[in-house]
Symmetry: C2
Subunit: 205 residues, 2 copies
DNA sequence: TGTACATCAGTGAACGCGCGTTCACTGATGTAC
DNA sequence: TGTACATCAGTGAACGCGCGTTCACTGATGTAC
């Protein structure tokens, strides 16, 4: 696994990590194939032994991100069980935690412009991630009287949008947007108000 | 105003519009100074008669975007008066309408990476836009009993985040994210649930 | 009204740069016998 | 265990490209007299 002279050992992963670092430091535009190669201690041409090109490298970084993301969400969901409410809240917190802990992956996934339909693998893993949130929403919506129950996919879309908005606007060292509150609190309280609006939390709780 | 041979007439604005078109078509990365100049029918060097450089051009596009944005939000707020609720809902709708109608500006403002603190003018106009939403939230929070009233700035941050999330995830021809619902409906219903959670809309309405 | 002149918005050529990508190559590694 | 050989991950030089930026220039415009 360690570098052993001529052959790198694990160049493929080293390139992905260099790319993620670059993205984290300089934004989605800041990543170049040449610079990533340089950081991995290798000639730019070596990249082509492992990837089809620049786009392919970012796509793989994003794919790994979705994989982690889906795992993290699934874990949060599971550990919040058997309460539908706590499982749902845990996934919300996990969303923000993921964005904080894996900023490079997050940017590669959501801000780099690569399409989730680029490859079947990418589409599959992003669908898996989305399904966790939808499942959590569906469980929870069982507790809403059927006649006033919104579609679970709408409700998970609301939470997803809120989470993504909080990340983009307040959790990033964003363009001058000073966060008025810690993003975690903002998301937590926003979800709280939302769930109360659905009648899933008591009015005084 | 019309092109009159050697002198362009209104090159400065023509460059900004070319830049906005490019951004709209190809994303924040898709804009190059040279291509914008070409579209305006002019040599790249001519750009330097009107802007300090590439960044300065984008920043000016963003500034004009914030100006329009603030106006649109203000107009929505005013026309929803005197009801605090309808004023608030109108600003929410205006947010999405702005993102739809002025995609180039929106991207320049929120996705191009330019900081709002780049110039005092930019900081001022973005603060003006933000203030409209905060005012609408503050008006509305008058209707919440003081002891359970969240800070108006938190509440406007929630709505801003939700709106931004809806735009980024569902209103853009986003990376394979097929919108499960029309973004307008999604935002409207999301805000509805949220306001119900604050006790500002009756439970059956 | 006509002429001389200052202004300045544009040209066009040139620059250095880093990019992504290609290619023939080389030398380390692992395997067959 | 030792040798011959196939594999293939890396090199390094080269490419064409478009980028942002600079510079001395030119010629259209507007103004003073």
């Amino acid at each position: 696994m360690a570098k052993r002279g001529y052959h790198h050992g694990n160049l493929r992963q080293a390139l992905i990590e260099a790319a993620l670092d670059l993205i984290t430091e300089k934004g989605p535009t800041g990543f170049t194939l040449s610079e990533a190669a340089k950081r991995a201690g290798v000639t730019p041409a070596a990249v082509y032994r492992h990837f089809e090109g620049r786009e392919d490298l970012i796509a793989e970084a994003a794919r790994q991100g979705y994989e982690i993301f889906a795992d993290v969400m699934q874990y949060a969901y599971d550990s919040g069980q058997p309460s539908a409410l706590s499982a749902f809240e845990a996934t919300g917190r996990a969303y923000l935690a993921f964005a904080r802990k894996y900023p490079g992956h997050y940017i590669a996934m959501f801000e780099s412009g690569i399409s989730v339909n680029r490859t079947p693998e990418l589409a599959a893993v992003s669908a898996r991630a989305r399904r966790v949130l939808e499942q959590a929403a569906a469980d929870l919506s069982q507790h809403i009287p059927p006649e006033k129950r919104p579609p679970a996919s709408m409700f998970s879309a609301h939470i997803w949008a809120l989470s993504h908005g909080v990340v983009e606007l307040f959790a990033r060292n964003s363009p001058g947007t000073v966060a008025p509150f810690p993003p975690e609190d903002l998301l937590e309280s926003g979800i709280g108000v939302y769930l109360r609006g659905l009648g899933l939390i008591g009015p005084d709780q």
